[in-house]
């Protein structure tokens, strides 16, 4: 799909505050309401806009620990990726699963209520994952910036 400058302007405004209505977006971008609505509709239909998601603050729910686990897999098994990912999906405390090209194969974001809870998860759920060659943990100290904003 062709994206023009008007679309980009609209998306820039929209991603800055996703709770805005089409009417507010129209006003900010100098489009008529009908034009803004039409463009947003087209961006949704073509999958450029995939949706508006609620952001959950896990700390506010009592999950004070977040660890980024960087996994290297034993790739001699051809289905290693699929098996590990399927097993990671079964762990409720895993909130993100990413695969990479590089030194790290897979990254899991794991949250826990406190260190004893994390230690328990680590021992009973993470160390038991199949096909793991190496695990490296980065403990989250602070989030300086967290956004999905694209530099449109």
């Amino acid at each position: 799909m062709q994206i023009d400058d008007q679309d980009r302007r609209l998306l820039r405004q929209f991603q800055a505050d996703p709770s805005q209505s089409a009417a507010e977006l129209a006003e900010r971008t100098g489009l008529t309401r009908a034009a803004a609505w039409r463009r947003l509709e087209r961006l949704r239909e073509t999958g450029v806009i995939r949706g508006v998601r609620g952001v959950i603050d896990w700390r506010a729910l009592g999950y004070d620990v977040e660890v980024s686990l960087r996994l290297t897999l034993d790739k001699s098994q051809s289905n290693a990726f699929d098996t590990v990912i399927a097993a990671a999906r079964d762990i409720p405390e895993v909130i993100e699963i990413q695969t990479f090209l590089g030194r790290v194969d897979l990254r899991l974001s794991v949250i826990a209520r406190d260190m004893p809870h994390y230690q328990d998860l680590y021992r009973s759920r993470i160390l038991t994952l199949p096909h793991i060659a190496e695990i490296e943990a980065l403990m989250q100290v602070a989030t300086i910036r967290q956004t999905d904003t694209l530099p449109l």
Partner: protein, 151 residues
């Protein structure tokens, strides 16, 4: 704040689609519309529902590459974390900056049009920062966000 099953169901639904109206949520979970609205408000006020994000398809908008960087700050001299954080968050391609403990000091998420665009950001904007020591880059192939422990 203690959540009950209805709160958890509402949170799960809103994490998937935050554009649904209180009326639609009410019908879906068998609540009255004012009750649904009040519960969502309460989740927002407690900071549990922390905001909304627009989920865009980066590739469709010309951003074909996402790279995660592990950055170790240089040991030489005295390094100001504040200066590094200010400079790194001023780069529009840097979507996320996490201060971490472990092999690296910071974890960055960088989005770029393609690998040569990423190289430009890396060489001209990130590696030129005085605090930066060692950098490791991993190119994102796939990504999945999970609902998390909501019962």
């Amino acid at each position: 704040m203690d959540l009950d099953d209805t709160d958890r169901a509402l949170l799960r639904a809103l994490a998937q689609d935050a554009s649904v109206s209180a009326g639609a949520l009410a019908r879906r979970f068998g609540l009255s519309q004012p009750t649904a609205w009040r519960r969502v408000r309460r989740l927002e006020e407690a900071g549990i529902l922390a905001g909304r994000r627009l989920d865009l398809d980066p590739a469709a908008l010309g951003f074909g590459v996402t790279v995660f960087l592990g950055v170790k700050l240089a040991a030489r001299g005295r390094v100001s974390l504040e200066d590094f954080e200010r400079a790194i968050t001023a780069i529009p391609e840097v979507q996320a900056v996490h201060h971490v403990l472990g092999r690296y000091d910071y974890r960055l998420r960088v989005v770029a049009r393609d690998l040569s665009d990423f190289e430009r950001v890396l060489r001209r904007r990130i590696m030129t920062l005085p605090a930066v020591g060692e950098i490791e880059a991993n190119v994102l192939l796939s990504e999945e966000r999970r609902p998390g422990p909501l019962g």
